[in-house]
Symmetry: C2
Subunit: 365 residues, 2 copies
Amino acid sequence: MSEYGRTQGSEQSRFRAVRIAMLAPPWIPVPAPAYGGIEEVVRLLSEGLVAREHDVTLFAPPGSESSAEVVTVLDDSYPDEIQKAQFEADHVARAFGEIEAAAERGVPFDLIHDHVGHTALAMADRVAVPLVHTLHGPFTEDACRFYAEHGPKARIVAISQSQLDDAPEGMGGGVVVHNPIDCSEWTFRDDKQDFLLWIGRMSPDKGPHRAIAAAREAGTPLKLAGPIQPGQEEFFAEEVESQLGDGIEYVGEADAERKRELYGEARALLMPIRWPEPFGLVMVESLACGTPVIAFREGSAPEVVEDGETGFIVDDEHAMAQAVGRLGEIDPAACRAACERRFGVSAVVRGYEAVYRAAINGRRE
Amino acid sequence: MSEYGRTQGSEQSRFRAVRIAMLAPPWIPVPAPAYGGIEEVVRLLSEGLVAREHDVTLFAPPGSESSAEVVTVLDDSYPDEIQKAQFEADHVARAFGEIEAAAERGVPFDLIHDHVGHTALAMADRVAVPLVHTLHGPFTEDACRFYAEHGPKARIVAISQSQLDDAPEGMGGGVVVHNPIDCSEWTFRDDKQDFLLWIGRMSPDKGPHRAIAAAREAGTPLKLAGPIQPGQEEFFAEEVESQLGDGIEYVGEADAERKRELYGEARALLMPIRWPEPFGLVMVESLACGTPVIAFREGSAPEVVEDGETGFIVDDEHAMAQAVGRLGEIDPAACRAACERRFGVSAVVRGYEAVYRAAINGRRE
């Protein structure tokens, strides 16, 4: 139960434990069986909040596990129905019902932290608990229309300043809290091998072909890891496969363990992206392993990478190749430390605590 | 503006004009550019209610036209995003906002008549106006779960008793109001030609192959009309195309005009369906043209067809063939008259007026 109110008005007033309804999407359990970006944020944040002695109830599909209390809303998970209104509306309406019923039982929630795409935010002015909504996607034209209308109904959290900069004016602003990483799950490694790493889907946006060009110019070996998804076969064959050899190697799709090895051993991660990625999780994973990042000036990269400290921000393949020559300036331990300090679970939890405080105070005003 | 309250308590109390927020789905305009079953119901019902001097505001996508006042909710229609929560939640939340704002301006709506799949019903306990929800789909397992939870938040209207019989107990019941047809848009024809008609998609559920078997046994020519949709090519080739000839003819996909000709000229429509179709509109269209229907005992067929009066309800292909021999017992004029009386716009509007009255009285209780 919330202790927030007990200290209100006292001179020692500080943020105390909050009772949070953490609303995960209805599609797959938390943690996700394979990959789930949103579910991973929900997992780490829930664990981190519980560790700080907040009272967290996680509304999520059956099969979910957490140190938080788990309430399964629907009878099943729906991995094949992602985005469908029937399931999202059902999930959100039932969760809202349970959240309000808790107040009737005398154990009210202080706030809802919503990670569901759209329905909870659109209806946030119709539930008796303040709502915090984390933006998990980019601001497409349709998303801008949506957030301009419904954003003012909640406190909006962007996962990068770059993402927030694309928000429509009508949204009413927001604050930035980066996505978390649990550094203890990633092994720091100081002794690097002589290769660069590129990791991702085989799409032009992600730039494996640009990584190859940069590595060749730098004269440094490159390992490429990642799946070839349906529709990417032609791009892979023409722009990647035909360029292999002479130190350029495709190692296939790396599983969780192999990915950790690659991050740890590489001299640097190359991120020659050409799209406004709201938050580049692979950069943070690399830093956690003590591996600097050389990234194009796109999306969240200039926020995640501190130029000259944890890697380099560059404008093209040529500049990327030149930056490879400066990797000796970067201390792996500094990468790890910066990652922990800026993206570690505690840092992110503290960021959200400030948002929660504002949401609860906002309701009181 | 509603006049309902003015007569309340007087001995002459009767149902007066109601102010209705008619909520169409966000996907395509009303009327639909090509085919839209739900949009057709919304179109006819809105016109019929306005003709009865009700005050109807139609919340629908841009491009919609109606005798009702049209309020376009979103900036666009979304034919390629059907079922997506982003657009459904956006549409419903904006409509709810406008409906409540009308009350603040002193022109409150008496009720919402909701034709959107899921979001409005799931949130119906969070809007300050009573909601009537028409069921447009079958009760799948997922639909049963949904309606058992959210059905009690509104007055539920089924489009057939057969559909309502499949409802989960938890839904809290509902009433039946059939879908409407404007008979004046369909030409009655008394002088029939010597062929039977089957019309529909080329799927096993719809039974074109069973229609062929029945027509052959009856020794009567058959015309089959309808599209071959993606995935239906093999079924069509094996079960339909290979059986053509000897009076069995495939006339392709009939446009609106050709469909009317076929209905008018045919001795009877064959409906050898094997699925619980909630409401078989083609049967009603056929009756409007004065053409009897011979249908399998499935879904709404035994409700739509009055056995021995407007056609025959049969159990299999053999019984269907035998019923062809009894078509002389059916009077085309009786088919048209029954269609008008039972499914005409006025009949359906009167059915909904009773539902609206109950919804408004329910709120007062």
